[in-house]
């Protein structure tokens, strides 16, 4: 009888708990799920187009991955603002441009984007920052490097020494432009220069529009030099000096979140993802091989760089 009484009492307690649970919604209350969050999206390393490196459970390093994160933040109604944490020396112009355009769309969707610059947010990294509502940088952050260049290596003499002679059957005179086995002609140099100038002008427009600066003034700043965060602030390229937490607080204040904001991080790799999705950049041999391939290949690898 005693045993039954004890168990019946336990059943009663469990039953009451279940009923109480209905009213207090343990653990996950509505506010927490549908509440107000800030998303933190990381831009790390080179900004390059495409899917980047694909692992067993993850992919990353390319702009496709980054844009997907921006879309996730846009579609998540609980995310009120996005903090873009940039630690990048730059990247290719098209890749920076497509992410920049997505940032503008995110802002147009009513979600402010605040940049927090880490060690470095130069060139293509600054392109992204210029497309956001507000820029925070550490006083010693390296930024600037505003400009565009097309890398080109002339290995003609080396090829002669090692007995390599490339033969090409071309559909047009400029099909092998930027080929490393010969000198650029003056006409080709003019073609490439025109491309660089066009992309530079686009970069200037993005900065001028994003920062509300006069394009002529931006041109003066955008001679390719790098700036510290503090210098950049004095020049109007940065809004505030501070770290990521200052940027988070600033973003919370911007959207009127009271108290400590709830943070959701996109693109954060778990330990398993880190192991299985390890980037080739971690493999020095692959990095070297890729670099040599790019040097020896023809024009497709000679992507205009903004870093």
């Amino acid at each position: 009888m005693f045993k039954k009484s004890v168990v019946l009492l336990l059943i009663l307690i469990v039953g009451v708990s279940m009923l109480v649970g209905l009213f207090i919604t343990p653990g996950l209350n509505n506010k927490k799920i549908e509440g107000e969050k800030l998303a933190v999206i990381y831009v790390e390393g080179m900004i390059v187009g495409g899917r980047g490196q694909v692992g067993l459970f993850s992919e990353g390093g390319g702009t496709d991955h980054l844009i997907r994160q921006l879309h996730t933040a846009r579609d998540d109604s609980s995310v009120k603002a996005v903090v873009l944490r940039i630690n990048s020396p730059g990247g290719t112009v098209p890749a920076s441009q497509e992410v920049g355009e997505e940032l503008k769309k995110l802002r147009a969707a009513g979600k402010p984007v605040i940049t927090s610059m880490a060690d470095m947010a130069a060139s293509g990294g600054y392109w992204l920052a210029a497309c956001t509502d507000k820029i925070y940088a550490n006083p010693a952050t390296i930024t600037g490097s505003l400009g565009v260049y097309v890398p080109y290596s002339n290995l003609e003499e080396l090829y002669k020494k090692i007995g390599v002679r490339q033969e090409k059957i071309k559909s047009g005179p400029h099909k092998d432009i930027l080929s490393p086995d010969r000198q650029l002609t003056e006409e080709e140099r003019a073609i490439i220069q025109a491309m660089v100038d066009d992309m530079y002008n686009q970069f200037i427009e993005v900065i001028a529009q994003g920062r509300g600066l006069d394009p002529a003034a931006v041109r003066e700043l955008a001679d390719g030099r790098i700036y510290t965060g503090r210098q950049a602030k004095e020049l109007g390229l940065v809004d505030e000096l501070g770290n990521m937490y200052d940027a988070i607080d600033g973003a919370a204040a911007m959207v009127g979140i009271q108290g400590k904001p709830e943070i959701v991080e996109y693109g954060k790799m778990s330990v398993i993802e880190g192991l299985l999705g390890a980037r080739s950049s971690l493999n020095p041999e692959q990095m070297l091989l890729k670099h040599v391939k790019e040097m020896l290949s023809a024009s497709p690898a000679a992507m205009p760089q903004s870093y």
């Binding site: 045993k3 039954k4 004890v6 168990v7 019946l8 336990l10 307690i13 469990v14 009451v16 708990s17 279940m18 109480v20 649970g21 209905l22 207090i24 919604t25 343990p26 653990g27 996950l28 509505n30 799920i33 549908e34 899917r51 490196q53 694909v54 692992g55 067993l56 398993i272 192991l275 299985l276 390890a278």
Partner: protein
């Protein structure tokens, strides 16, 4: 012992003897009842947590997955652990162990009041409290598994722990090997 309530009391306060009795008598009906309650209560707890949110829409699917998964795991655990227990020198039946393992769901039910109490705590300590309750539940269930193996196959405590550990260690080892091979194979691809 005899009625369901008395069996539950003994599993709570004298698990080793209770499990032996359950295994000997092969109380499959009572084990099924305990298993069913052990499934419903956690699902209820999850429902209370998710109600009013978009997450509640997946509860039906979650319930089905939970029922099927738990049932498969129960049957599979009883079969595998019986086999290993016999290899370890134990004497008993798979049906007896199956019945005893059904009662190892009991902690899932008993922690419900703790779950509710934790929900009343300040937000800062709530996550820690839930984690602690989860850990208590897992440890308690493992203790009941050991007691079930001891009772059903007359094993010593150490042997019962070893028998219980073997499938876990083999599974972990297999997963690690699969992940290493699959990961290294994919990383070689020229993406």
């Amino acid at each position: 012992m005899g009625s369901f309530l008395e069996t539950v009391y003994d599993v709570l306060f004298n698990p080793k003897q209770a499990m032996r009795y359950i295994a000997e008598k092969k109380l499959i009906g009572q084990a099924l009842a305990m298993f069913s309650i052990g499934i419903l209560v956690p699902v209820w707890a999850i429902y209370t947590g998710l109600k009013g949110t978009s997450g509640v829409s997946v509860l039906g699917l979650l319930f089905i997955v939970h029922v099927i998964g738990s049932l498969v795991l129960w049957v599979f655990s009883a079969a595998v652990l019986s086999f290993i227990a016999e290899l370890a020198g134990g004497r008993g039946t798979a049906v007896g162990l199956f019945s005893a393992l059904g009662f190892s769901q009991l902690p899932k039910i008993v922690v419900m009041p703790l779950w509710v109490l934790a929900a009343l705590l300040p937000a800062g300590v709530q996550a820690t409290a839930f984690g602690l309750i989860g850990m208590i539940t897992v440890i308690w269930m493992l203790v009941l598994h050991v007691a079930a193996l001891q009772g059903a196959f007359s094993l010593s405590g150490v042997r019962a722990v070893l028998v219980l550990s073997v499938p876990l260690l083999v599974s972990i080892g297999a997963i690690v090997v699969i992940i290493i091979f699959a990961g290294s194979a994919l990383m070689q691809l020229p993406f």
